[in-house]
Symmetry: C3
Subunit: 436 residues, 3 copies
């Protein structure tokens, strides 16, 4: 079910070198180009739009495409029928398309059953959805689990519609088929897994969810090229039903998942890793408490599954006006923000990769660092050099109870400095791993 | 020793309905009328004034009157002799009563032994008590455990007294008798008890303690009419010696007491219940840390007793100028404040009644609420409805470790909404009780 | 290895009486006089200057002088050769001493190997150290573990030196010898020890370290005269290598050390004791988190030693401009500050001596304090007297889980009032010790 990297041995490049060498803006530009290609496609929780999108991602990363039949029972849910759509419109009495799916796929209530009728505006109104507080934007609405049909439009469009008869057409199908999702796994030195998941079911919406889909693909491509301690599993799946389906089909795998990130938030050690990296990033940030109304972390963190999965978002869902409207378009995401987010994600992964718990092998008093070339020889100066401070903190706290991330938090020293100092101490034989 | 409700079966009315239907101001008016009737009576820790006051409360609630003989040993203490008083005064040389017990029973040092003498003002002074910083108010003073006599008066009264001889009379008795207290118990579905206690020994003082005595009686009357999970025990007893006496005589009962409120403060789960209700009440409030210098919670919470009893006060004792003076009179309490406090108490009791710890019976991913009619069918909207959020929080945290009150605190959702959502989830078979 | 007080029986004076009776300013004056006598001596981590300083302290307290041979292995370190110095200078071409060790012993890089050469300023420069940001102060520099030589001088002195040839002389020796340290132990009623340690290796620097050396000596003299529960061990030893040497030679003793103070900071119970005393002292203070870059607490608290040792400083090292420069001179310390610090230390020791965990022997309700003369007899007053409040807090919290220091923190009452109230309750038979 998963695909291994097509290479003879593991790559020898270190993640820290990879982080040093990437150009965030160049990465952001590549990501933006991919978002542009994906934007026009009408995705849903099943169907050809979703399938085609996953195939487009295969140019960046050779993900495996899974197809799960409609009717498959997944925990309390059932995989629904597959939905496809070719066209949809509302025509006025003179035959003009006043609402046209070809202009924006948001115009159709996602998962609308087929309809082809003439009806008066009075009757039609109960099938029309607008967002009156942002009258120039088309809202995004869905009806996956109750059969319905409808059109979304701007408030201004609605106001321009005059009484009279309209021709309504939704040329869709809702039939037994498959739910599609993409999966890509990088084998690391151990089978302990980091799960990186993003939902992939939204149609023409850029920040939510194209940025996540694309960043996950770029991240996978970068991680593929470096030696890793953990294995990494990437999932591109429709929201809710997709993660539930994957969880139901993969229960034996779950015990291997040590950390998870829904591309936005974070939990458990991941929480601490993300908080630490953000704190030293110079960006404003907020650690949001877990709430059960997020994305797929709702499923990963349900009490019977309980994976240490968080989410990572620049702006939380529902906290920006453009959320779930046509204004979340290609002007709402930028190459530079995409590149910065990618870099933050790499630094978070660096913490997951390099964190560990060590024992001070010379625990009685400080070892004489000076004769090992690890300490300045001139005494009396006011402040220790940063590297020396990092080493003293590590030696003092490495009693088997504190990992390097604990030490970074406690000391206020950035994780990468702590990690480098720990490397020097290990090389000098002063620090040894704690066997768990 | 306790009296059961005179009815055939338990009442079927729900507490939440009772809360919806009461008119706080009407309740406050009834309470105020009772305070007015009790105000003129000279209460003390024993005696006819206390006895008569408890009998007056019987019009509201059929409390049992207990009489414990003087000399009874109660832990480290002994029930004192019974004190009664008919009259007291200081007459000047022309026979005018310059201080007259008939005008205010606060004029006598409570528990004064009988005295009938003539003496010069110089000699009399050591028996006179005033409050110089509030020169128009009579202070309230007592001497229960050392035989003494004295008069309390305003500073202005003292200043008007000229040198010369005065006739002093305290027509009191201090003889073997009884200590009286009132008790009323409502049997609920279980024997787990909530203790609601108030001290009843203060003479003409309205906020401290008449408001507590009367609110306890009104509360008992309202609770009597609804179906309850806990049993409720109400105590009207003199401060310190009364609660000590009750505790000493009722040790076997103590293990049944799960929560307690001295009408003001709160502890243990009660603490959390009170804090939660106050937080959502729109009133300014302060959770005061327990201190050992309060009212009878000092006794209930002593280390060898250690009941989870808190206290509930609108204004803590000693934090208002009128405390323990004649200014704590009928103008210092209002029907509207009494009614509001009663409503807050009912809401606190609602939390105690409805709180519980449940298990999510469908713990792997979220259950599909939509097909059970518990979730909107239209997707894509920015914010979940309040009821849906409450259900998601409950499902996520109901792992047997968190009770509904925990979930209310964690989510920031008022307890009654959480409680209602939990009811719906139980009805849908998605939530089951944790057997303790 | 330790010296007992030369007396027949233990002193009967109480520490609290000692604290009442001392005159802080008189103590400060005695300390200041001793600092003045020690100031001109050139101390280092070994050598005659250190030895002579310890002998001078013997006038205040009969400390034992220990001599540990060069080459002794102490954990990861080796006791270095002994360094002594008679003279040092830089002469210009006309034979004037432009830098003269006789004017300030800070002018020589501490532990400089002998040198006697003529050299051009160009060549000499790499051996000259200044502090450009404080151009009138001589910095203090050392090179204990790498053989080197050098001169420290003010930036202005360096700027005045003209190009040309200079005669350089350091008349020092670095030869096998001894490391000296002083130790003094007061036997208390138990063998549980409090370790009070200060480093003694700095040359003409007053706040760091002469104030610590001298305060430790004055403190030892005051404690010697009172009855004590703990035994007290004082150490005057060179920084780092001195504490490491003492620890390596005294491992069997370590389990007896219950508290420790490096004259500045504090840990474990000591932490709480110091925080409490400072909070009630009226001084501004900061509890600094432990960092591994302090003084000898770095060694005492290393994970393989892990003693509960903190440090106590008025101003932390490195947080004042004068630190490790010639400006830390006799004008930088004052008798009044020395006296105040001594008093604070005594109060901290009082907490260590008097703290304890007790059981309320009358745990069911409050005992009747009034009939034991421990409670006012007049009731109704607004606020309890401070002593009564202290007794109520102690009775309520003395369940075997809270010691007196916990009760002082929880109640906000100064420790000495809690301690006195606990004494009264013990005398009345209401409080008994918890046997551990």
């Amino acid at each position: 079910m998963t695909r291994l990297r097509n290479q003879t041995g593991p790559p020898s490049r270190h993640l820290s070198e990879q982080i040093q060498s990437i150009d965030p803006l160049a990465e952001g530009n590549k990501g933006y180009a991919l978002i542009k290609a994906l934007y026009p496609i009408c995705r849903s929780i099943t169907g050809n739009g979703l399938r085609q999108s996953l195939r487009l991602l295969q140019d960046t990363v050779p993900l495996v495409l899974h197809e799960v039949p409609s009717g498959t029972e997944v925990f309390d849910w059932t995989v629904p029928k597959e939905w496809n759509i070719r066209d949809a419109y509302i025509k006025n009495e003179v035959g003009e398309r006043v609402i046209d799916f070809q202009r924006s796929n948001l115009h159709v209530l996602n998962y609308s059953i087929p309809v082809r009728r003439k009806m008066a505006l009075t009757e039609l109104r109960s099938h029309l959805f607008t967002s009156p507080e942002t009258p120039d934007w088309i809202p995004y609405r869905t009806s996956y689990y109750r059969e319905a049909w409808g059109f979304c439009m701007t408030q201004r469009q609605l106001e321009r519609m005059q009484e009279g008869e309209y021709e309504v057409c939704i040329d869709s199908t809702l039939e037994p088929g498959h739910l599609s999702y993409g999966e890509y796994r990088i084998q690391g030195a151990t089978d302990d897994e980091v799960l990186i998941s993003c939902h992939s079911c939204h149609p023409s919406l850029c920040n939510d969810n194209l940025s996540g889909m694309v960043m996950a693909a770029r991240l996978a491509r970068l991680l593929e090229a470096v030696s890793l301690r953990h294995s990494y599993r990437f999932l591109w799946a429709p929201g809710t039903i997709g993660s539930i389906t994957w969880l139901a089909l993969n229960e034996p795998v779950l015990s291997r998942i040590k950390h998870g990130v829904v591309l936005s938030c974070v939990n458990a050690e991941v929480d601490r890793a993300v908080e630490h990296v953000l704190r030293h990033s110079g960006h404003d940030f907020k650690m949001l408490e877990f709430t059960p109304y997020g994305y797929d972390e709702r499923q990963y963190c349900s009490p019977g599954i309980n994976l240490p999965v968080g989410s990572f978002m620049r702006t939380p869902n529902g906290c920006y006006a453009q959320y779930h409207t046509s204004a979340d378009d290609l002007t709402f995401v930028t190459p530079s923000a995409l590149g910065e987010s990618l870099l933050l994600l790499l630094r978070i992964i660096q913490v997951l990769e390099e964190n560990g718990c060590y024992m001070n092998l010379n625990p009685k008093c400080e070892p004489q660092l000076g004769r090992r070339g690890l300490y300045r020889q001139m005494g009396g100066v006011t402040h220790a050099a940063a590297r020396e401070m990092a080493m003293l903190w590590i030696l003092n706290l490495s009693d088997g109870e504190h990992d390097l991330l604990d030490i970074a938090f406690r000391s206020g020293i950035p994780f990468d400095q702590i990690s480098q100092a720990a490397y020097l101490l290990r090389e000098a034989g002063l620090l040894g791993p704690v066997l768990e």
